[in-house]
């Protein structure tokens, strides 16, 4: 197992290396440099040229890349052109927000999707099944930003049940320990902060959850249906086991295996999906920051964040693989 993990981690190096070159070349070729985004409209051509020079952007790409590599080896991803703060700091400043959002979305997706998919499979062909399948198809087909918008108009603007923006109500004082609002609130017993933070997570969480929810529901359903037809379930029934034993130990346990993989893949994509949701809900996470960075051609932020997100994605997949192999002894053997 350890060997497997080490192997996967080592494989990460060429992947990230390649990705960084790709990003580097690619991003630097984006039209319109930071000199246009950072200086006011009335700046002169000389001023813009001077800025390029002082940012080191006039160096040959290879030189830039090498110095980038040199820094990255020391754990330095450069500084944001936009805010002049280290990219890593920026990332960890915003990561907790996105992470909380992603976790919320995943929780919603899993807690609703699994039972729903399971029930749909059990009640195959009934109204419930139809609704679950139809609903999840609809979930997949509705553009996330539109859904987010609708949710906001209904539940924030018209009904006023949930806040429409931010991660925390302005002016609410809190103790910052980890950057994770809910966690900090729980640790310091600032219940108002916890409640407030949770309220802020509901709508964006729902919007972000729509696709994973749909996927998990459908996958669970398909997987449960498949497993219910397996021979070993028939064996379990032939042993006269209680229905619940059959369903939990034999059906669910196997049916969840492919779902675990799906959850991992989806978790990776959540960080990217957050771009849309976060911008609709003014949620201060990495998604909206990356988007702003594309607008201002903040190369270090783009390169750094995408590398970090990619690393995270690979890590999540590694975790999934590991958990998969823990769950499935057949894989463990290899």
């Amino acid at each position: 197992m350890l060997r497997f993990i080490v192997r996967r981690l080592l494989q990460l190096i060429p992947t990230l290396g390649g990705l960084s070159i790709l990003l580097f070349v690619w991003l630097q070729r984006l039209p319109g440099g930071p000199e246009y985004a950072l200086l006011p409209d009335d700046a002169t051509a000389e001023q813009r040229a001077a800025l390029r020079r002082s940012l080191g952007l006039d160096e040959p790409l290879a030189v830039q890349y090498l110095s980038f590599l040199g820094r990255i080896v020391q754990g330095d991803l450069g500084t944001s052109l936009q805010t002049s703060r280290p990219v890593l700091d920026e990332f960890f400043l915003r990561f907790p927000a996105t992470f909380e959002l992603a976790v919320t979305a995943m929780l919603i997706a899993v807690t609703v999707g699994l039972p729903l998919g399971y029930l749909a499979a059990r009640k195959r062909g009934t109204v419930l099944d139809f609704a679950a399948v139809g609903g999840s198809l609809l979930g997949i087909c509705t553009p996330v930003f539109f859904l987010a918008f609708i949710l906001k108009v209904i539940f924030a603007e018209n009904l006023g049940w949930f806040p429409s923006a931010f991660r925390l109500s302005p002016g609410l004082s809190r103790t910052d320990i980890t950057g994770f609002v809910v966690l900090d609130g729980l640790m310091t017993r600032e219940w108002d902060v916890v409640a407030d933070a949770l309220a802020h997570l509901v709508l964006p969480g729902l919007a972000l959850a729509s696709i994973p929810l749909a996927v998990i529901t459908r996958m669970t359903r398909a997987s449960v249906l498949e497993v219910m037809g397996e021979d070993y379930v028939r064996t379990a029934n032939a042993k006269g086991l209680h229905r619940t034993t059959v369903r939990t130990r034999h059906v669910l346990r196997n049916a969840l295996l492919p779902v675990v993989t799906a959850v991992g893949l989806l978790a990776g994509s959540l960080f990217a999906g957050a771009v849309l949701t976060e911008s609709v809900f003014a949620f201060p996470g990495i998604g909206s920051f990356v988007y702003a960075a594309t607008q201002t051609r903040d190369y270090p932020v783009l390169t750094g964040f995408i590398l970090l997100i990619a690393t995270m994605y690979v890590f999540i997949n590694l975790l999934v693989d590991i958990s998969y192999s823990l769950l499935d002894p057949r894989v463990r053997a290899q």
């Binding site: 070993y232 028939r234 064996t235 032939a238 006269g240 346990r253 002894p329 057949r330």
Partner: protein, 369 residues
């Protein structure tokens, strides 16, 4: 009379599947047989003739929807004391059936790998049945499981309990399945092609194990197979199934010595025998099961039969007692019945030249292409 009632009496069992857009498929169509304690009854037939469906119907394991089961399968559940408790397995409640399964009725499946849950250790899969039906848990359950595995011939059972199915060899998997089946000393056991997926040497081990089980525990065994060789060594009574119906039923002696239904004869003629002189061509049945006609139109086997007449196509042939003289002059009790209007008499069987007789096959083939 109680002692003479069979353990299980299956009467006119029929199973029909409904599928949208496909109409009805009668997978099993009026099959009757009985099972006795300490005896082995065989169900033989080619693929798709309804053997598995029969066994699943008895175990109540057919899918909930789209299936219609008819007939009855009355099982004597207990004969402690005077009172005989009987139940029709096809009618009792789901709950009750679950109680019976595993404790009174057990089943061994064909493919040992897919029949074991890949992600649950063997030990758990064995102990869960002990827990369910014998209320054992913890260490005693484990000890019992070790014992069971040892009894079915799994070496080093203690270690095997923690292993997963894929870590076992094919033979051991089948043994583990058998261990589960015998865990509660069921009175009736159904083995659905338990050795098809195994090598001959392993098959011999498993068959021996089953044989011992029957003789020592007095379990009734319903042996399902397509291999007449297996049946010859193991079964007491044999039912030959074709297209969902029993076409010939007999004790194994008469069946092998004097088969009367052309299908049985064909099956026997198909098997290359280790002890037959070499170079002699086999005499198989023509065509394949796809060539059946509906039983309602006549004998389903007619299109493949070298022996059929117009009569065969005159509606479903009835199951009839084999006219005596076909071998041992046995008493009426040991029924040798067949479903054929134009059976092969024993004398004919011996004369192979006659069997390789006219057929319409050639012409048919041209039409169909």
């Amino acid at each position: 009379m109680s002692s003479s009632t069979p353990l299980l009496a299956v009467d006119e069992l029929s199973v029909a599947f409904h599928r949208r857009g496909h109409g009805e498929t009668r997978a099993v169509d009026g099959v009757s047989f009985t099972l006795e304690e300490g005896k082995v009854t065989g169900l033989v037939g080619e693929s798709g003739c309804g053997k598995s469906v029969t066994s699943l119907a008895l175990m109540g394991l057919l899918p909930d929807r789209g299936v219609k089961v008819g007939g009855s399968a009355v099982m004597r559940l207990s004969d402690r004391g005077e009172e005989v408790v009987e139940a029709d397995l096809l009618r009792i409640s789901n709950r009750r059936m679950r109680d019976l399964r595993g404790s009174q009725l057990a089943m061994i499946f064909q493919d040992p790998l897919s029949s074991l849950n890949p992600v649950v250790p063997i030990g758990v899969q064995v102990t869960e049945i002990l827990k369910r039906h014998r209320g054992m848990r913890g260490t005693p359950a484990r000890k019992e499981a070790v014992d069971l595995l040892y009894r079915v011939g799994i070496p080093d059972p203690d270690r095997r309990l923690n292993e997963y199915p894929h870590q076992l060899s094919g033979g051991m998997r089948q043994r583990a399945l058998i261990a589960m089946a015998v865990a509660c000393k069921p009175r009736l056991m159904i083995a659905d092609e338990p050795t098809t997926a195994l090598d001959v040497t392993i098959q011999a081990q498993i068959l021996e194990l089953l044989k011992d089980l029957v003789t020592e525990e007095g379990t009734a065994l319903l042996m399902i197979t397509h291999d007449l060789g297996v049946v010859a060594g193991l079964c007491d009574d044999i039912n030959v199934l074709y297209a969902g119906r029993a076409v010939e039923t007999a004790e194994r002696g008469p069946l092998f010595a004097a088969p009367t239904h052309p299908y049985t004869v064909g099956l026997l003629g198909s098997i290359p025998r280790l002890d037959a002189p070499r170079g002699e061509p086999l005499t198989p049945v023509r065509g394949s099961v796809n060539d059946n006609i509906a039983w309602t139109d006549g004998c389903a086997f007619a299109p493949r039969c070298d022996h059929y007449t117009m009569e065969c196509l005159q509606g479903p042939p009835p199951l009839v007692q084999v006219a005596n003289g076909a071998g041992e002059g046995d008493d009426a009790g040991s029924a040798h019945v067949h479903r054929c209007v134009n059976p092969i008499s024993h004398a004919v069987v011996v004369d192979r030249a006659v069997l390789e007789s006219p057929a319409v096959a050639g012409d048919d083939e041209e039409e169909r292409g």
